[in-house]
């Protein structure tokens, strides 16, 4: 067996695959301040699900923000490469990946063979990431993240958030609420702000958004953001069944390849 561990800023994921490259188990936990321990815990959890021991895992690759801190891995690889590999295994002809995680967002362009040829990431700011959604949703709208997507789809006249700064958007939403704008319209306004930010970032990095476009990362579970991305791009994005584990899956596939 082979394992991929993705230690992100918000969640840590593990994927275990067998000799044939088939996924045996995956697990996900919140990342704590000790990133190495988060990696160990999530790995143990995945092993536990299939009643296996780490002794039977031949090669481990860690990825994500905390990849260097996971000392049990055989190798650490950047998540850009792992996202691409994992997504390609699920969508073999993918040409563009939009990944929105907890604290960063990325747009990745692949050639016809599935090799990464270009990528763009957010820089110093968390706007347009999962953290942006989390702050605005839970703190200001008193909604859970799960509620936000379905609510956004009910919007009839969405708000335009002029700011892409998480902090300033917060005050803007407070103003919108005082103007009695509906939570539905605000929810979709937030989704649109994220979509605009991520697509704009990709365009500035000269990403061509060639189809098929796959949307991964935890935020891909939000159907409001999916709809906003479709509108912003004028084409449909595809989402994996478990969009948050593509990097861990890619790392596991690399583990199998590099072990050989």
């Amino acid at each position: 067996m082979f394992a991929g561990i993705d230690i992100g800023s918000v969640t840590t994921k593990a994927v275990i695959i067998n000799q044939q490259g088939k996924m045996e188990a995956y697990s996900q936990i919140p990342t704590n301040s000790d990133r190495r321990k988060s990696g160990e815990d999530v790995f143990e959890l995945a092993l536990k699900k299939i009643g296996e021991s780490s002794k039977n895992v031949k090669y481990i690759i860690s990825t994500g923000y905390g990849r260097k801190s996971f000392t049990s891995s055989n190798q650490a690889l950047p998540e850009i490469i792992c996202h691409a590999r994992g997504t390609k295994s699920l969508f073999p002809i993918v040409r563009t990946i939009i990944d929105i995680g907890g604290q960063d967002s990325k747009v990745i362009e692949l050639d016809k063979k599935g090799n990464v040829i270009k990528f763009e990431m957010n820089d110093k700011c968390a706007a347009g990431t999962g953290r942006f959604l989390e702050v605005l949703t839970e703190r200001i709208l008193n909604l859970s993240l799960e509620e936000l997507g379905p609510l956004a789809l009910k919007s009839k006249n969405h708000c335009n958030l002029s700011s892409i700064c998480t902090v300033f958007a917060e005050s803007e939403i407070i103003s919108l609420l005082s103007e009695h704008r509906t939570k539905e319209d605000i929810a979709y306004g937030i989704s649109k702000a994220i979509a605009r930010r991520v697509v704009g970032m990709g365009i500035s990095g000269q990403i061509t958004f060639t189809e098929p476009i796959v949307f991964s990362g935890g935020v891909a579970r939000n159907i409001g953001v999916v709809k906003a991305l479709n509108e912003e791009l004028g084409r449909e994005v595809l989402t994996p069944e478990n969009p948050q584990i593509t990097a861990a899956l890619g790392a596991a596939i690399f583990a199998e390849e590099r072990c050989q």
Binding site: K68, P78, I81, N115, V116, I117, F119, M121, D123, Q206
Partner: protein, 471 residues
């Protein structure tokens, strides 16, 4: 212990035993003026320099030593001024031929320097201690987050702190950076009414793709601007420079540039024989005037070339054979050395710095006898201040000349012009060459906002992409 660490620093940076008695007290004095403690010197000796430079090589140690001598000399500029020496500053990326010619014509009467770049490199490259200067500037006028680069902030801060004297004239070229003259206004208004500036400008009005060094009107215009500026400087310091001294300097610069090109060619060897940062030291006198002279650097470069030839002969390299090699616009920077190092640690060489890799045209003798026309031609043959169409042609030629596997632009996001033109260039160069071309957002002088961890994923991803492409 106190004595030893300073001595150790000098030995590590190529000083000979017979130089110790002169330079040891001078180093202590200079360190005091720059706010460097014994712990800072210890950090440079034990960590910073061994991490980022190939100190096994005498040529590298000697080059570092030339830099140390230049920094020590700069900290004595106040004393020079008191003795009546005329102080002339310049700001990157000005043409340095004229300042060298001034020095050549009146070595004891004139002090020439680009103080901000010398001090920025010294503070960050050796000690990783530029922040105190930046904070001084940010607390007193040039606020944090504004678009002024660390060079401008450092110039502002070191004048405010009295580390450098007011110049008799500061010759600023607004060719690329129009923020530099604004910094001089800040200094003049806030801290030093005596801070005197002469500005030379070159409008960027050439159509995309124009081969600017072949447009006679443009050459004549630039030559006339250089002449006016240089006349103003000469008048201010009371020194008359004969044209033959300018020509002598151009010839000297050309000779040094040829040697740098030889080093660049050696860097194309497989395996790559020298790390990028150690090689980068050799570039400095091409862009920055050394008041202490270019001879020491040239001697060190000769030693380095001999040492590298030996490595090439013996197949010694710092990366595995076949490792991908990138050309970069600015990624190999002495002020934020971990950027280049991170590429090499991830198995990708970054040996060629585009602005310092000379094109075929730059290596040709000048077309004109008039030294100002010759200097203008030399300037427009380079890629720094020409339109992006011509610039991309020059870059594509260099990528081919040095067999680079790809190109990295960026790390100049503080600059409102270069920050955007690099994005445009990356697109044009990629389309023309079909090579992978990357853009990294960051800051080549100041790593407070773009830390090592913030850029790690980008750099490691680029390295993985390059390795996968090369198989």
């Amino acid at each position: 212990m106190t004595k030893n660490i300073y001595e150790e620093f000098l030995r590590l940076t190529g000083f000979e035993e017979d130089e110790m008695s002169k330079y040891l007290p001078e180093l202590r004095k200079a360190s005091g003026k720059l706010g460097l403690t014994e712990d800072d010197i210890k950090y440079a000796v034990e960590e910073r320099l061994p991490t980022y430079f190939d100190l096994e090589l005498k040529g590298v140690r000697k080059m570092l030593g030339c830099f140390v001598k230049e920094v020590i000399d700069l900290t004595k500029a106040n004393e020079y001024k008191e003795r009546g020496v005329k102080i002339v500053y310049g700001v990157l990326p000005a043409n340095i031929h004229f300042l060298y010619a001034l020095k050549l014509s009146a070595p004891d009467k004139v002090f020439v320097s680009f103080p901000d770049i010398i001090l920025t490199v010294a503070a960050n490259c050796f000690f990783h201690k530029l922040d105190p200067f930046l904070e001084v500037a940010e607390k007193s006028g040039i606020t944090y987050g504004c678009r002024h680069c660390a060079l401008n902030k450092t110039r502002y801060a070191v004048r405010k702190l009295g580390i450098i004297p007011s110049p008799d004239i500061n010759w600023v070229w607004g060719f690329i950076c129009d923020e530099a003259p604004k910094t001089d206004e800040f200094i003049h208004v806030y801290h030093d009414p005596g801070w005197k500036t002469y500005i030379t400008r070159l409008p960027h009005d050439q159509p995309l793709g124009t081969v600017e060094d072949e447009v006679i009107d443009r050459l004549e215009y630039l030559a006339s601007q250089m002449k006016d500026g240089f006349e103003a400087v000469q008048k201010e310091v009371g020194v008359k420079v004969p044209n033959e001294n300018i020509q002598k300097v151009i010839d000297l610069w050309q000779r040094y540039a040829m040697k740098v090109s030889e080093l660049n060619l050696l860097m194309t060897s497989d395996p790559q024989p020298l790390d990028a940062l150690s090689g980068r030291l050799a570039y400095e006198p091409l862009a920055v005037p050394f008041n202490t002279g270019i001879e020491g650097m040239e001697e060190a470069l000769d030693i380095l070339i001999r040492e590298i030839k030996e490595r090439v002969k013996n197949g010694v390299g710092i990366l595995p054979k076949g490792a991908p090699k990138l050309m970069s616009s600015n990624a190999v920077t002495l002020t934020v050395p971990w950027i280049a190092k991170m590429f090499e640690e991830n198995g990708v060489g970054i040996p060629f710095s585009e602005p310092f890799v000379l094109s075929k045209k730059q290596l040709r003798p000048p077309t004109f006898e008039d030294p100002f026309m010759s200097a203008a031609e030399n300037w427009l043959r380079g890629s720094l201040a020409v339109n992006p169409g011509y610039q991309s042609e020059i870059i594509c030629e260099k990528l081919k000349m040095y067999s680079a596997d790809g190109m990295v632009f960026g790390l100049m996001d503080f600059d409102r012009w270069i920050g955007s033109s690099h994005r445009l260039l990356s697109r044009i160069v990629e389309e023309k060459t079909k090579l992978p071309v990357f853009y990294i957002e960051g800051d080549v002088w100041d790593d407070r906002d773009y830390s090592k961890e913030a850029l790690r994923t980008r750099i490691e991803s680029i390295c993985e992409i390059m390795k996968m492409r090369k198989g």
